[in-house]
């Protein structure tokens, strides 16, 4: 674990990128773990019938991946005080999502860091933003 001691963190520091190829198997496992069996995330024909080119990952799958990047940086899940994500683009099966972020602010009194976060995917030569405006408040030691 890379627990980040407060004194070594500066505004502007990046958090290490976390990459993952999203597979149908993982999305099915996520549906079981979360209880969200919306057919958009399981049934290709259904996803097409509502205007998508294929099955899309749960937004929360992408957010869980983004959160994993924060937890890896902070050292433990219990350091996360607040986390949020706006979902801006779908993620299709077989795509690689990349979670990243940087330190936007530090509170020396509370010993917390505010992170700005995002998740990108490269698609047809363009960068898409499954999460454009993510944010977390993290307690540091």
């Amino acid at each position: 674990m890379n627990a980040e001691p407060f004194a070594s963190v500066a505004v502007g520091d990046p958090i290490p990128e976390l990459r993952r190829v999203v597979t149908l198997e993982d999305v099915r496992a996520y549906a079981d773990a979360s209880g969200d069996h919306n057919p958009l995330h399981q049934d290709d024909g259904f996803a097409r019938s509502v205007g998508f080119p294929g099955i899309i990952a749960h937004g929360m799958f992408t957010m869980a991946h983004m959160t994993a990047a924060v937890v890896a940086w902070a050292g433990a899940g219990d350091r996360v005080v607040q986390i949020s994500a706006g979902f801006r683009a779908p993620v299709f099966m077989g795509e690689e999502i990349v979670a990243g972020g940087r330190v936007r602010a530090l509170d020396r009194h509370a010993r917390t860091a505010t992170l700005e976060l995002w998740v990108t995917v490269e698609r047809d030569g363009r960068t898409e933003w499954p999460v454009k405006k993510g944010e977390a408040l993290v307690r540091l030691v």
Binding site: D26, D36, N38, G51, G59, M60, A68, A76, I83
Partner: protein
């Protein structure tokens, strides 16, 4: 969806934090020990059933995509505890064929203390 359902408060729903389910979540996202922060979504989804099934709201869940999500933790969830989820429809806006629904869930422990507040925005896409 029906904008008149804004403000609806639902009966509380309980959700046990089952260690096996937490372990599956940890494996999926390569997390260290403890309950991963976004495991809260499993609790949310359990309580969401009454929103999806609300005959007054008339949400077509098969056309719903997730717009945004926010979690605020007073403390981490603990494996083995049971939380009580209090759900309300904070706002509903319908613009043309698209509906925007913001749901707030407050999750309390067995002692009645607030553990997590979850705020989600759901977007109901118009029929194509």
């Amino acid at each position: 969806m029906n904008p008149a359902a804004e403000g609806t408060v639902y009966p509380r729903v309980t959700f046990p934090i089952e260690p096996a389910r937490v372990a599956a979540f940890r494996r999926l996202f390569g997390q260290p020990g403890g309950v991963p922060p976004t495991f809260v979504s499993a609790a949310e989804f359990t309580a969401l059933a009454q929103v999806i099934d609300d005959p007054q709201l008339k949400l077509d869940f098969s056309r719903v995509v997730h717009g945004s999500q926010e979690y605020r933790y007073e403390r981490p969830l603990r494996e083995g505890e049971t939380i009580a989820i209090h759900t309300r429809l904070e706002s509903i806006k319908v613009l043309g064929a698209t509906g925007f629904l913001t749901i707030v869930m407050e999750m309390l422990d067995e002692g009645g203390q607030l553990v997590v507040t979850a705020r989600s925005t759901m977007i109901e896409r118009g029929a194509s």
